[in-house]
Symmetry: C2
Subunit: 383 residues, 2 copies
């Protein structure tokens, strides 16, 4: 017997309601029954995106929606700013390069957040910049960007603001309309507590103006086709029906919970996790801009981060994430997002303590879990 | 109480094993546990594709794999043949147009199959043609193409042969290697008995040579990235994990059943359906090239095909498909593919008889179902 705990920044664990919805018999997508579901899902997404604009559901990974943003907004030879402070920021640059779009890359030290002033400087210097590509939470480093401040800057220019909110939307605050985010992309397997396979994308009026003149080749990810289809409550291509049925379930749960409660829960889980790591004498990778969805922690000197991750997973059934790209072996990443609550976090911390002890790291057993417990005790409304 | 019967050409009903697999807790995709699943799925697909070449799993609708074929094989200004005898043949032409690829369109009368000689004539006349895009079963008309004969023709030229086998693969025969199909694309929601959300694509050596020189922009659907990732048993982007877990289940079932039994079952179901329609005095839309996965039937004079479909679905819970595009209202389409067997077919025919009677069509009750019963009686090995 072994219970498994999933504390990875995507996929995140599935609520039982989702498992049940996924296991239902399939229905046809061109029926009034599915149209009601598609309509409910689209409306529910607008609540989570905090937008009155358009939101579309794509059948793809989150990266598909990132590609949709690039190819619908821009044309070859256009110039865009990409903010690059980790693996997922780099993906914007790669996507632009694939479609012949020039990029002004703002390189941000991994572990730090971008300075909105730097974006403004670039926009001022080059009036031809048509889009600014950013990341809400850089999953590879655990850093959260100040999208509100960036939105205030970009809104003064003709460029559109695009945010990769794959990690974070539905878990931490992002006010699409109020913060002037023109295109926000997300995926099903993180804050939305679903399996991967769906992507979501919002489009503002300013973004539609860019789409109207964009010449990049596209077909599967064409947002004009998506817009046309949704007018008759349809999708241009056969959608991932079962995932959309489950999406309606989570959207109901999330609305009932309320964004306020959701954000607060993530904030407390993140504080507890960070308090535990500090109490264990471990160093956070991004102390100044730590996100509330995933915490990157430096592996202690002399201990391989990959070994920590593998031992927790293979021996104890607790799956956290290792470091990616240049951080491989140097950090481990502990997620506190989606269908995860305090007791999961505590299990994860206890497991980490156990493995660190076994690997020879010196600390007093129980200090991590106790620090987390204190945060939960003082910050949750439960009796 | 109402039981629902799904007799549509995608999605097709889910086996209980699939529903169960879909409802399992999620696992992380970068784990040895998922790698074993991905490997088993890829190997299992090669059995169904009847290929020793590469097969990749994409997280998208079938159309995503069609786009992958176009953008990986060709560059803007290249010329390709598209065979257009229905809505899905037209999709190849639209995809090529979106990426600046010239097309020599072979227009085939809806309801007829393409003449392989016509393809040869075009290939001979224009040595610059780099690809031939065809459809195994044109779902909109129910027509099946003679891919074996087309493969024999195209193989003599430098052009690659691409087959949209979204409707049909895993239900009717398509020998990817033996028939010289360079790229075969399929989807999860038809012969594979899964929900929509996965696409599959095979790549021959000749296709890899075309891919090596193709300059079309691409990122999410880049097959070189998929090839590189699979070498370390990975996918370039987060895959639709739960659907791949369910895919392994159906591939096991299909292998145990054997391609021979699967193809035979579809052949018998198609014969029974056609026999029933003829016995009811109804006219098949594609009598000369009827596929074994879906049968398009002309609505009787004076009766709206849409009315038949809606009444069967909304009053009796039996979902068949209506006509698409120019065939809307003129035909209805009765699918016999995937997790459907003789008693489902008989239920569908009885329901059709009931509705035709109510709508005033004149025939002797029971003649359709009896004709189908006879075909099943004489063609199935069961006692």
């Amino acid at each position: 017997m072994r219970k498994n705990y999933l504390l990875t920044p995507g996929p995140t664990p599935l609520p039982p309601e989702v498992c049940q919805a996924l296991g239902k018999p399939i229905i046809h997508h061109r029926t009034p029954q599915f149209q009601a579901i598609l309509k409910e899902a689209t409306e529910g997404l607008k609540y989570i995106f905090q937008t009155q604009g358009d939101v579309f559901i794509l059948t793809s990974s989150g990266t598909g929606a990132m590609e949709a943003a690039v190819v619908n907004l821009l044309s070859a030879q256009d110039t865009a700013i990409t903010v690059q402070g980790g693996k997922f920021g780099e993906r914007w640059t790669e996507l632009c390069a694939a479609y012949g779009i020039h990029t002004e890359v703002i390189n941000v030290e991994w572990g730090k957040a971008v300075d909105p002033g730097e974006i403004e400087k670039r926009l001022k210097a080059n009036p031809n910049i048509k889009a600014v590509f950013t990341t809400l939470c850089e999953t590879s480093t655990g850093v959260v960007s100040d999208i509100e401040a960036i939105g205030e800057v970009v809104n003064k220019y003709k460029a559109v603001l695009v945010v990769d909110a794959i990690s974070g939307l539905g878990a931490i605050d992002l006010k699409t309309d109020a913060w002037c985010v023109d295109v926000c992309v997300s995926g099903s397997q993180k804050g939305f507590m679903l399996p991967p396979g769906l992507a979501f994308i919002s489009v503002s009026k300013k973004a539609w103006e860019a789409i109207a003149v964009s010449k990049s080749p596209r077909y599967y990810f064409d947002l004009k086709a998506a817009k046309k289809a949704i007018q008759s409550v349809d999708t241009p291509f056969t959608p991932a029906i079962s995932l959309i049925i489950a999406l309606v379930e989570v959207l109901k749960m999330m609305k009932q919970d309320s964004l306020e409660n959701i954000f607060n829960r993530h904030r407390v889980m993140a504080s507890a996790t960070r308090a535990a790591m500090k109490a264990l004498g471990l160093e956070l990778f991004a102390p100044a801009a730590a996100s509330d969805v995933v915490t990157a922690v430096k592996a202690p000197a002399g201990i391989d981060g990959e070994k920590i991750v593998k031992t927790m997973r293979d021996v104890y059934g607790v799956t956290i994430a290792g470091g990616q790209a240049e951080l491989k072996g140097k950090v481990f990443r502990f997620a506190h997002m989606g269908f995860i609550e305090e007791f999961d976090i505590l299990a994860g911390i206890v497991c980490l303590e156990r493995v660190l002890k076994k690997l020879g790291y010196s600390f007093e057993l129980g200090t991590g879990v106790r620090a987390a417990e204190e945060v939960f005790l003082n910050n949750t409304p439960r009796l």
